[in-house]
């Protein structure tokens, strides 16, 4: 069975706004379903987290994950949108995927996103910086 179809059937209404493009599945997911989706992708399907990208968009802060299914070459891209710009919060996926630790710490440092349940919520790149830095470093609105 095609991996994309299998995933869509297993997730049901937990994912929405699905777009398929060149072997990639882009979809949105809510904070409460994020762990279910990530656990399925990582443990059940054996996907690898390539990276996650935070962006400041008109509608809010967007976090786009890229999961690579190396056997088939397919990509699964969950998207999380946070509209609360003053206090952006979402679940950390580091308890599921150790490799997400640095990625989430960097996003927290740059975009001010609080990752709930992160085992080590410290700055990644400016920990030893001699000056008190404004936080978040790359968030343009309200700065």
């Amino acid at each position: 069975m095609d991996k994309t179809k299998e995933f869509i059937e297993a997730m049901g209404d937990k994912i929405y706004k699905k777009i398929e493009k060149k072997g990639r599945l882009y979809f949105e997911v809510d904070n409460e379903n994020l762990h279910t989706v990530v656990e399925y992708l990582f443990h059940k399907m054996g996907c690898r987290l390539s990276t996650a990208t935070a962006m400041e968009m008109y509608h809010g802060i967007e976090v786009l994950y890229h999961f690579s299914h190396d056997e088939s070459g397919q990509y699964f891209c969950p998207r999380m949108v946070m509209t609360d710009l003053k206090n952006p919060k979402m679940k950390s996926i580091t308890p599921i995927i150790k490799g997400a630790e640095w990625i989430e710490r960097e996003m927290c440092e740059f975009w001010g996103i609080e990752f709930e349940g992160h085992p080590r919520p410290e700055r990644l790149l400016s920990r030893e910086h001699p000056q008190q830095l404004d936080k978040p470093l790359r968030f343009r609105r309200n700065s």
Binding site: K22, R24, G46, R48, L49, S50, T51, T53, M55, L64, H66, S68, D70, E71, S72, G73, Y75, I97, K98, G99, A100, E101, W102, I103, E106, F110, R123, L124, L125, S126, R127, E128, H129, P130, Q131, L133, D134, L137, R138, S143
Partner: protein, 395 residues
């Protein structure tokens, strides 16, 4: 248990770049490692979003001094992905040729450094001696030994002159012989085996958990290779094997790289043969990039390099994310270095072929007035000296 900490870095004779590791040791054994990155403030992602797409390619070429084709290749793949731009066949072969030559010279550089780290300077001198002809091949093809400036959105900027192909093939023949010699030396050498076998093991499970890439993961039995899993450049048109070993120790990482170089010469030879026959344009003239998003990947010598580009229809990206392979490979130290004697830590950290300037490509610190922070290092140093004096002598 009496635990002490040993700082390694940020400036250390065996680290070519600034990086800081705090080793927590119990006697001779490392029980924990704290990795502190962020010593180079480069701001590539931020600067790229102020540049046009063509300028971004020049910029990302300078993220890394060694893989100066991998980043621009992933970047052009991402930009081309937005509009599904067609790449001329000849350009695909040229891109593959350049990418594989870069893999050979990067692996030879690493091999030399690894030899030097463990006191095996013969291996260092051999490797760097045979790296030189590869750099000369680059000079012959592009005019530069590094930062070749070969890539454009839609193809490549320079063609490979057919008259140069026999000379390039001769260098590959010589390299093959020497690489086989190095492979045999590495395989037969009892000192090398006893020094590296079983040292710094990254288990299969840890490689998966940390999402490791490249030779680091392939030495641990994870067969991930973008060249096979995605249809990029001319890799689907050439014959090559993905080298996968099982033990995950430093020795296997060395062997994976040596065997990969032999696969790379095989790919280069096939590309040169095809370039004799395949004629046609090398650049598809791309005028506009529409609004959308694209991802670009390439199997750099250190592993998968990943670029994400979001566009709005103008001539510059509104978001450009770069994920270098070292960024996911360096955290594996937490799994591979713990439990080792102190003396084995440096070769274990070196075994992932870390590139710290790739890892720290993103940070650019600006204050509220949009000016870079100005730090008076002399003033900071005097303040610190004064603080230490007060703490030591009082007053």
């Amino acid at each position: 248990m009496n635990k002490n900490t040993i700082p390694v870095g940020p400036f250390h004779p065996l680290l070519e770049e600034a990086e800081y590791f705090n080793l927590v040791v119990d006697g001779e054994t490392v029980v924990d490692i704290d990795i502190d990155i962020g010593w180079m403030h480069r701001g590539h992602e931020f600067i790229s979003e102020q540049k046009t797409f063509t300028q971004s390619i020049y910029l990302v070429e300078r993220i890394c001094g060694i893989c100066s084709t991998s980043h621009p290749l992933a970047c052009v793949h991402a930009i081309e992905d937005v509009d599904n731009t067609e790449i001329p066949l000849r350009a695909r072969y040229i891109r593959t040729l350049i990418g594989e030559l870069e893999r050979i010279h990067s692996h030879l550089l690493w091999l030399g450094l690894a030899g030097h780290f463990i006191g095996y300077d013969t291996l260092w001198m051999w490797s760097w001696k045979y790296r030189e002809p590869v750099l000369q091949m680059f000079e012959l093809i592009s005019g530069n030994r590094n930062h070749y400036n070969m890539l454009r959105v839609g193809g490549v900027s320079r063609d490979v002159d057919p008259e140069k192909i026999p000379g390039l093939t001769d260098v590959l023949d010589m390299l093959d012989k020497k690489l086989i010699m190095i492979a045999k030396a590495a395989n037969d050498d009892p000192v090398l085996r006893s020094r590296l076998k079983g040292v710094g093991v990254l288990t299969h499970k840890d490689a998966l958990d940390y999402c490791a890439v490249g030779p680091t993961s392939r030495a641990s039995g994870v067969p991930a290779d973008v060249r096979k899993s995605e249809d990029i450049d001319a890799y689907s048109l050439v014959d090559f094997d993905v080298i996968v070993l099982e033990n995950g120790d430093v020795y296997d990482k060395l062997i994976v790289r040596v065997l990969e170089m032999l696969e790379s010469t095989k790919i280069c030879r096939q590309c040169l043969e095809k370039l004799k026959k395949v004629k046609g344009p090398i650049l598809n003239n791309v005028k506009n990039i529409s609004a959308g998003e694209g991802i670009g990947r390439y199997e750099a010598p250190r592993g998968e390099v990943f670029h994400y580009v979001r566009t709005d229809g103008t001539n510059r990206p509104i978001r450009h994310k770069v994920r270098a392979p070292s960024y996911v490979n360096i955290p594996t130290y937490a799994a591979s270095c713990v439990g080792l004697p102190i003396a084995d830590v440096l070769i274990t950290t070196a075994s992932v072929d870390p590139c710290y300037c790739c890892t720290e490509r993103s940070l650019k610190v600006v204050n509220k007035n949009k000016q870079p922070y100005q730090i008076d290092l002399l003033k900071l140093s005097r303040e610190k000296t004064e603080r230490i004096r007060r703490e030591t002598y009082g007053g």
